[in-house]
């Protein structure tokens, strides 16, 4: 904290933000400086994902890399990923929701009760299920934000309680089947090939145009803006990924195409991408989203700045449990039924793991919705790949636990690094 650091003269006083180095080297240097400063983001998860895919592809080239398995993997991970997306909001506050898995199961159970047993039409049954999630979140949020009980304890109690609710609702050893095509389609059906391509291209063009227009506007106003080359790189990367994924999923993957054709982007991927866009928008473009980060970063500062900390906390718990309801429905949709274990077992732990592996901090204040998607994919790839290697479940869990531990260590280390270099 010497004077020369603080008094560093600025070359052009009219624009305090010096023009960044816009060359490829400059972008790389800026990125490396960020990593060194402890802002690793999703980089470890992405590198890990690439490594896992390479290893599994080498060991099981036939089974792992075929498009059937690829689509299967998306379906398997959809529930955990959606759950993790909701958990990001609670983790951003520096809180935890251990009950999210069984909250999802309970809501899926509610859907089953109304849709199958009571024979309600789809819409009211779906609304009832999502509302159940919101109410669970409201209760947890009130206990945490109003009474000040640690979220770990509240949601641990809710975890046990909701497990009981689900078991009571469905009955020991019972199941409630779903007989609604829409619900069962959520995590089993595929989009027509042409629609997959259309949506993929809409995504690319939408991203490219909207970010380009924003950047151009900010450049015209002389505000800080990413180099145009960086924009091109990001757009290029997105284009390659989207085209590769859509292309691969548009291949016929049925073992007997004459009998049933199996191709196109799974509906579950559409659900994930849709939620990703909506939630990211909420978190980054609304004042509420800013307040979530503020409360997670420094709740006292947020309170003094006039932010209603209680309401922000409450809203995050409600959002998390509502997302859990969606996740529960996705999980149940996969098997066309709800049972007393829907959303149980490793679901929640995988989801928390997914968010953390993706780069969301357990300490609050740092995280993005896309972390959940990246981390969810890592978890799914481990689960799926180890299964194909004929590894016993015990080994799968041990490896997953190890990966989570590595991710949490990266989080803690980058935090230490960040506080040493002054980044967050």
């Amino acid at each position: 904290m010497s004077a020369d650091v603080d008094d560093r003269p600025v070359a052009d006083p009219a624009s305090p933000d010096p023009m960044p180095d816009n060359s490829l080297g400059g972008i790389l240097r800026a990125y490396l400086a960020k990593i060194k400063g402890g802002e690793v983001g999703s980089l470890p998860a992405v590198l890990g994902l690439i490594a896992l895919v390479v290893v599994f592809s080498a060991l099981r080239p036939e089974q792992f890399t075929n498009s059937f398995n690829f689509a299967n993997l998306i379906g398997q991970s959809a529930g955990v990923t959606v759950l993790a997306m909701g958990l990001v909001f609670v983790l951003l506050l520096g809180e935890i929701d251990l009950s999210a898995g069984f909250a999802g199961g309970t809501c899926a159970g509610v859907l089953g009760v109304f849709l199958t047993r009571q024979e309600w039409p789809l819409l009211p049954a779906l609304v009832a299920a999502l509302l159940t999630g919101a109410v669970i979140g409201l209760l947890i949020g009130l206990l945490v934000a109003r009474l000040g009980i640690p979220s770990f304890v509240v949601t641990l109690a809710a975890f046990l309680g909701l497990q009981g609710v689900l078991l009571t609702m469905i009955g020991e050893g019972g199941t409630i089947p779903y007989r609604n095509d829409f619900i069962n389609g959520l995590n089993n059906a595929n989009l027509p090939v042409w629609l997959g391509w259309t949506l993929g291209i809409v995504c690319i063009v939408g991203y490219a145009v909207s970010t380009y227009v924003t950047d151009a506007r900010r450049r015209a106003k002389n505000l800080t803006v990413q180099p145009i080359l960086l924009w091109a790189l990001k757009t290029g990367l997105l284009t390659v990924v989207v085209l590769a994924v859509v292309g691969y999923l548009s291949v016929e993957r049925s073992r007997n195409p004459a009998l049933t054709s199996l191709k196109g982007v799974p509906v579950s991927l559409l659900v994930i991408v849709g939620l990703l866009i909506v939630l990211t928008f909420m978190l980054t473009r609304t004042a509420w989203g800013r307040h979530v980060y503020a409360v997670g970063g420094n709740a006292e500062a947020a309170r003094r700045a006039g932010i209603n900390v209680f309401r922000v906390r409450l809203s995050c718990f409600i959002l998390c449990s509502t997302m859990a309801a969606m996740a529960g429905i996705m999980i149940a949709s996969r098997t066309n039924s709800v049972n007393p274990n829907t959303g149980g077992e490793t679901t929640l732990l995988y989801a928390v793991g997914a968010a953390v592996i993706g780069g969301t901090s357990l300490f609050g204040g740092k995280g993005r919705v896309i972390d959940a998607v990246i981390g969810g994919t890592v978890v799914a790839v481990i689960d799926n790949g180890m299964g194909l290697l004929d590894q016993p479940q015990g080994t799968v869990w041990m490896v997953t636990g190890l990966v989570l531990l590595v991710a949490a260590s990266v989080d803690a280390l980058s935090r230490r690094r960040a506080s040493a270099t002054g980044h967050v």
């Binding site: 004077a3 933000d17 900010r218 505000l223 500062a301 006039g306 932010i307 740092k366």
Partner: protein, 249 residues
């Protein structure tokens, strides 16, 4: 010209402990009023009362000559009173712009208007002749103590505030950064704002203050013009609770 802010006979107790026992204070626009006193003299309580965090038990609160009721930080902000706390109350994970607009984000079509916020943040910093921030998009965590203080002060003047209360703004700073912050404090007053500066450091006080208000065990010992007194006398007033009459102390 009538004072910007006036307190008359302000009292405040916490349970059995009476912290403020009939304090008078007047703050004029365009002047730096230093609030000094030993630990436990009631400086923080007085400031928190002015900011609407605590409610005074008794006494009059006048702002721009009108009696006002300040019962929450929102009331104070609505009057144009901003407080820069000692611990700054910044969110480390947010950048300079987001910190300056924290809780008061500008919106367009119900979305955060990043462009206007960034422009106004930069205008405000330029207006305060702040040249030390490289980018307004840097996370606050990576700033030095003086830069953080600058951000906190800039946040306080962003809203055309009339009175800025600074709680020990130089307590944790090195020599050069203290100098910068004091110059900034002076600039606020020169722009016509009323400034209340709480400080333990009489060097700082004599460098920037126009008026010095001395608190002693919850009573206002007196409000003295800085130019007409000496450090020795102020020290005596702080320790004994009596303003020495005439002569060198």
């Amino acid at each position: 010209m009538s004072p910007l802010l006036e307190l008359h006979g302000v009292e405040k107790s916490f349970g059995a402990v009476q912290v403020l026992r009939g304090v008078d204070l007047s703050v004029r626009a365009g002047r730096v009023t230093a609030l000094v006193g030993d630990n436990g003299a009631g400086k923080s309580t007085l400031v928190k009362g002015m900011a609407g965090i605590h409610l005074f038990d008794a006494g009059d609160y006048l702002f721009e000559g009108e009696p006002v009721k300040v019962t929450s930080p929102k009331d104070a902000a609505a009057l144009g009173i901003e407080v820069v706390y000692q611990d700054l109350a910044l969110c480390d994970n947010l950048d300079v712009v987001h910190n300056m607009f924290l809780g008061r984000e500008m919106r367009r079509f119900r979305l955060v208007d990043e462009d206007t916020m960034e422009q106004r943040a930069r205008e405000t910093l330029d207006g305060l002749s702040v040249r030390t921030l490289k980018s307004v998009r840097t996370p606050v965590a990576s700033l030095s103590g003086g830069q953080r203080q600058t951000v906190a002060i800039a946040r306080a003047v962003l809203w055309n505030s009339k009175l800025v209360i600074l709680d020990e703004p130089t307590a944790a700073l090195g020599v050069a950064q203290t100098e910068q912050v004091l110059r900034l404090v002076r600039r606020l007053a020169d722009r016509g704002l009323g400034v209340v500066l709480i400080s333990h450091n009489l060097n700082d006080v004599f460098e920037v203050a126009d008026d010095i208000a001395v608190l002693h065990l919850g009573r206002m010992v007196g409000q003295i013009e800085a130019a007409s007194t000496t450090r020795g006398r102020v020290v005596e007033a702080i320790t004994t609770g009596v303003v020495p009459e005439g002569g060198a102390a």
